[in-house]
């Protein structure tokens, strides 16, 4: 279609968009990379191969892995449940799933502190069983699961809603069992959306800070995730090492964005996103 708007409006709007995005997104990104090498390659390498940095990275990866696994299982069941059946209360369930998106990360941390911490009624039981949740790794994992809880289901629900239930019903009437229907009919349609959800979920889990900050005991090498470790470096004015470790996360963020674009492109071509 022809453009109604005059060329200078067009130029102005494109210019505004470019300046805004470059100023707010590209400049900080490049700044992190520049700063991380500001003290030379030696400082950079020693910062990212520091034992504490590697331990933080390991804890972060384990946390991400568990959170993504749990939320993928949940996402698949919840998306199936909320799009294939209509029952009293399904809308409420749908709203509840999205709650973590509107809860401040700090509050997300606080609720697990209240549930499992010293003030909790189950605290004596946990102590008796020798389980430490708060200021330990289980708390970090739980908080991460909470903040990323809706990420997979939210990507699947629109796709399943748009597909409708005709094919699954036909299969069910012909006697296919639930797992067969899911594997042969549903899954092929949602695999790109699922991958997209997993990518988003990993990204958020990787970078989670507020919730984890409340529940981490901040023991270096024990309960510091990568973002917390970076914060502790920054607080000590070790700027170059802080940015060096950050550059790992920046590179991961770029990988995630590229993966996201690739997944979306693939899904788009097949009309499945």
């Amino acid at each position: 279609m022809q453009q109604h708007s005059s060329p200078w409006v067009r130029r102005l709007l494109i210019g505004l968009t470019a300046v805004f995005l470059i100023l707010f997104l590209a400049v900080p990104l490049i700044f992190v990379l520049v700063q991380s090498f500001s003290r030379g390659l030696g400082v950079y390498l020693s910062a990212i191969t520091d034992t504490f940095a590697l331990q933080a990275l390991a804890l972060t990866l384990v946390t991400v892995l568990i959170a993504v696994a749990v939320n993928t299982i949940f996402g698949l069941f919840a998306a199936w449940n909320l799009t294939r059946y209509r029952y009293f209360g399904y809308k409420i369930v749908n709203t509840f799933i999205d709650l973590p998106l509107s809860v401040s990360p700090v509050i997300a941390g606080l609720i697990f502190l209240l549930t499992f911490g010293r003030a909790s009624p189950i605290y004596p039981l946990l102590t008796a069983a020798g389980v430490r949740v708060v200021y330990a790794i289980p708390g970090i994992v739980l908080a991460t699961i909470f903040v990323t809880f809706p990420y997979v289901s939210r990507e699947l629900i629109p796709v399943l809603d748009a597909r409708g239930t005709d094919e699954e019903e036909a299969a069910a009437l012909m006697g296919a069992s639930g797992p067969v229907i899911f594997r042969r009919i549903t899954f092929p349609h949602i695999k790109w959306a699922l991958l997209y959800g997993v990518v988003l979920c990993s990204a958020r889990a990787l970078g989670e800070f507020g919730a984890v900050a409340v529940l981490s005991g901040r023991l270096r090498g024990r309960t510091l995730t990568l973002p917390l470790y970076i914060e502790s470096l920054y607080q000590e004015y070790s700027y170059a090492p802080a940015f060096a470790v950050s550059s790992i996360l920046v590179v991961l963020a770029i990988v995630i964005l590229v993966a996201r674009a690739a997944v979306e492109h693939k899904g788009d071509k097949r009309g499945e996103l």
Binding site: M1, I14, F24, Y85, G178, L226
Partner: protein, 294 residues
Amino acid sequence: MAVTKRRSPIESPDGTKKFLTATSVIPGFGLSTGVTLTMLSLVVLIPLASILWSSSELTVADFFATIARRRVLMSFWVSIETALIASLINMVMGLIMAWVLVRYEFPGKRLLDGMIELPFALPTVVAGMALTSLTANTGLIGGALEAVGIGAPAYTRAGIVIAMIFVGIPFVARSIQPVLEKLDRRAEEAAFILGASPWQIFRRVIFPEIRPAMLVGFGLAFARSLGEYGSVVFIAGNKPFQTEIAPLLIMSELQEYDYASATAIALVMLILAFLILFAMNLIQSQAAKRVGER
């Protein structure tokens, strides 16, 4: 699981929905409902309920005494003020970005489009550190602003707004883009032929269609900014009464093991967040109704 007499998979014949009873031939209702509700309860509902349970230990007088402290009230005000400014800027920029990315073709478009989601992918601490260093008076941008007499934004409310703009960038654009893409261009062409100016076409034909999406995006950005912690923690400077936002105050209460105060402040923030969520649901259901009427 019960398979009752069915007409459509969505509604039972009399149009009612029965409690935990689905009207579908597709198997797996019991299992999927069980897993969904169990995990939802364990991860979200029970932990969230702990805040209600904990705050019920506070007397009403205690609760209000905590909330009415000047430092607490100021933190709410700073939070709301900065989140509101940031989300309004994001709303306007999000509208422009969505428009540019859907309607115009230009070199570098895909790159800009891909960049928008960076705030989702980049850990907030990293963003916060970079923005703080850039906008401090020793930084590239902060130094320049100081030199022209505006002053460095870091450690002021302007700094908080900048961090909140960063985290809220994707919401409005990503909310409007799909709506704008699906918009029927024939209405615009008709308006054009009838002699409407481009601005009139935008205001009278296009804008009413994208307004719900814009408001929902605004709500999401506002809710996110209100609760933001990681990117704000460095740039805010955390001066009580001036640059201390509510999540930072909750954190400092927790560091002093004052769980009661932290819970009371968190409860107010939660109520605020739920009100935003409720408003957005209202907007969405009204927009759906509008589409349904056609």
